[in-house]
């Protein structure tokens, strides 16, 4: 019968819909003030909701983790997979533990060199079987510096030592009386080295030297973010700028400057920013400026690797 494959297709679609509904719903449920709740890391798809004993959809290979043992082996697999895929620099195994709610996920976060990591994963599988129960009693295993190893509620990795912590722009009161100075530059010079990837419709908006906004001193007010300054200066100089607010990272994402958009120079292209030669690992709306900061907006054609900002993509070394 023809009806059978159709039915199958409909059933698969339905299951997919339900799964996406459940998984998608969890992103929004993450309570802002409750760090213990389940957390997701932006770069890695290893979010696992064990309490649901449900489909570990993102992990791909291990779709359904019903029995606790299976979950643990799944976690192990995951970490070894990551080992193969990623630079040995760092690995985060996601998992938090919460004792107050049975709805919250449990897990542990680790950050170690690969060898230790594997060992941890192994020991983990031996020790923490009870932790897969709905109400875990065991504290997180192998978290030497818990405060340092977590992502914050907007999925930001720990900021390296000596670098400014992200500040939520909603909490900031801009003091218009305190005018301060910083420098701003916007450049798309990397496109010139990647002309074969470049969208030729956009040739007319690409300056011959790639510089959209030459480095100059700009005024900002106490408490303003990198994004605020960019928006004001682009408006003032009648340079096109499009952005979109991304609630999950609580920051504005710059889609295009001067009609040079993300993906215009290959699928790894887009806008990045650095302040005082450091590419922050959080959004521009959360970087609060200090007097004398040097802001640079740069177009990348290769996820930041061509402009020295690959640390942000890989995670902090």
């Amino acid at each position: 019968m023809k009806a059978k494959p159709l039915l199958l297709l409909a059933a698969t679609l339905l299951v997919l819909l339900v799964v996406t509904f459940v998984m998608g719903g969890q992103d929004k449920v993450v309570p802002l003030d409750q760090q213990v709740a389940e957390q997701v890391e932006p770069n890695k798809d290893d979010q696992s909701d064990l309490s649901n004993a449900a489909n570990n959809e993102n992990a791909g290979t291990e779709a359904e983790a019903v029995a606790p043992e299976e979950v643990l082996t799944a976690n192990e697999n995951l970490s070894t997979n990551e080992l193969q895929e990623q630079e040995p620099a760092q690995l985060d195994e996601q998992a938090q533990e919460s004792q107050e709610q049975d709805s919250s996920a449990q897990s542990e976060t680790k950050k170690d060199d690969p060898v230790k990591q594997e060992a941890n994963a192994n020991s983990n599988s031996n020790e923490s079987k009870p932790a897969t129960q709905v109400k875990p009693t065991q504290p997180p295993v192998a978290t030497p510096k818990p405060t340092n190893d977590k992502t914050d509620q907007y999925l930001t990795d720990p900021v390296p030592e000596g670098k400014p912590e992200p500040v939520e722009w909603q909490d900031v009161k801009v003091d218009e009386k305190q005018a301060l100075k910083a420098t701003l530059a916007v450049s798309a010079a990397t496109i010139l080295n990647n002309m074969d990837l470049f969208n030729e419709d956009k040739l007319e908006v690409l300056p011959s030297d790639g510089v959209i906004y030459a480095k100059q001193t700009v005024t900002f007010y106490e408490g303003e973010s990198v994004f605020d300054v960019l928006l004001r200066e682009m408006k003032k100089n009648k340079i096109h700028l499009e952005f979109v607010m991304t609630p999950i990272y609580n920051s504005h994402y710059i889609e295009g400057i001067n009609n040079l958009y993300e993906f215009d120079c290959g699928e790894l292209s887009g806008w990045m920013y650095k302040v005082n030669d450091w590419f922050p690992n959080y959004g521009a709306s959360r970087y609060q400026l200090q007097s004398g900061d040097e802001i640079e907006w740069m177009y990348t054609c290769d996820l930041g690797r061509d402009i020295g900002g690959d640390g942000v993509v890989k995670g902090n070394e």
Binding site: H240, E242, N259, Y261
Partner: protein
């Protein structure tokens, strides 16, 4: 044959090719000249087909739809070099995105209008005549599906009239009563639909649907006039395709608006497209003039 709609008296294959071509080209051609040609002829033809009712329908529903769709785009799309003003959020409104919205809205309306013409001209018997042998099941389902909504609306109206005669229409009684009457009409309609489905199946079976060696009757002939019109159409389509291959049919919106310059050849392409789009109108007018002449000579 209805003398107002003499285009429909052409051979089904011509009609089908015609509508596939105009609908397809309306979907893909963004050049303003080609787009306005297609829109205007689709509009005029739909009014010709449906008269006053078609005109008021177009103005009442199509116009708001057009405005809505045109206004929607610049709210979400901020590309373009010509910044007109800024939204409160800080994103710019650009001329290019507005024009893109207008163009997309016109394209949408044009395709809808052509489809309304298709529905009036390509009746299901013609469709089955064309595809009954190649894809028998699909063409039957297709024609039944297309008939589904109009048929149910007509039946619902019939039931509603009958119920009004005994004071039980949706327009009669208190609010609660109205609701109950509506539910009753719905129930009658559903009962009829189920029964009708069985009857249809029985009827098809008793007439030998699906049996081998069955022939079907059709009154369509590919005559001299069809050949002439087919020739004109194919010539036009070839011209348009050559033009499209040279990039004359599209325009670029972002980051700045650009389309190919008007040249001698592009004027020919526009002419061919114009001829193709007004073909049904021309045939209808010509037939009407002929009819008048015969009438007055008697």
């Amino acid at each position: 044959m209805n003398k107002v709609n003499s285009f429909a008296s052409l051979h089904p294959s011509i009609l089908f090719i015609y509508f596939v071509t105009v609908i397809g080209s309306s979907m893909f051609f963004t050049h303003p000249v080609l787009q306005s040609i297609s829109f205007l002829s689709a509009f005029v033809y739909s009014v010709m087909l449906k008269g006053q009712k078609g005109l008021s329908f177009n103005l009442l529903y199509m116009l708001p739809l057009l405005l809505f769709m045109a206004a929607l785009n610049p709210l979400f799309n901020h590309q373009g070099v010509t910044i007109l003003f800024y939204l409160d959020s800080g994103n710019p409104i650009t001329l290019e995105s507005i024009l893109y919205g207008v163009s997309a809205a016109f394209m949408f309306i044009t395709v809808l209008l052509w489809f309304s013409g298709y529905n009036a001209v390509m009746t299901s018997d013609k469709f089955i005549y064309l595809f009954g042998r190649v894809i028998p099941v699909l063409s039957l389902i297709f024609s039944m599906v297309l008939r589904f909504v109009p048929r149910y609306v007509a039946k619902a109206k019939e039931i509603s009239f009958a119920q009004r005669g005994i004071g039980r229409d949706i327009s009669q009684g208190s609010l609660l009563k109205k609701g109950r009457n509506a539910a009753r009409i719905m129930s009658i309609l559903t009962t009829w639909a189920l029964e009708n489905a069985i009857e249809t199946a029985d009827s098809m079976k008793s007439r030998g649907y699906g049996l081998p060696g069955r022939t079907s009757f059709s009154i369509y002939r590919f005559d001299q006039r069809d050949r002439l019109i087919m020739g004109i159409m194919v010539a036009c389509i070839v011209f348009i395709l050559i033009g499209a291959a040279q990039g004359m049919s599209t325009m670029r919106f972002f980051p700045s608006i650009r389309f190919t310059e008007v040249s001698m050849f592009s004027i020919f392409v526009y002419g061919a497209y114009l001829l193709l789009c007004v073909l049904p109108i021309l045939i209808t007018i010509q037939e009407e003039l002929k009819w008048k002449r015969i009438e007055s000579s008697n």
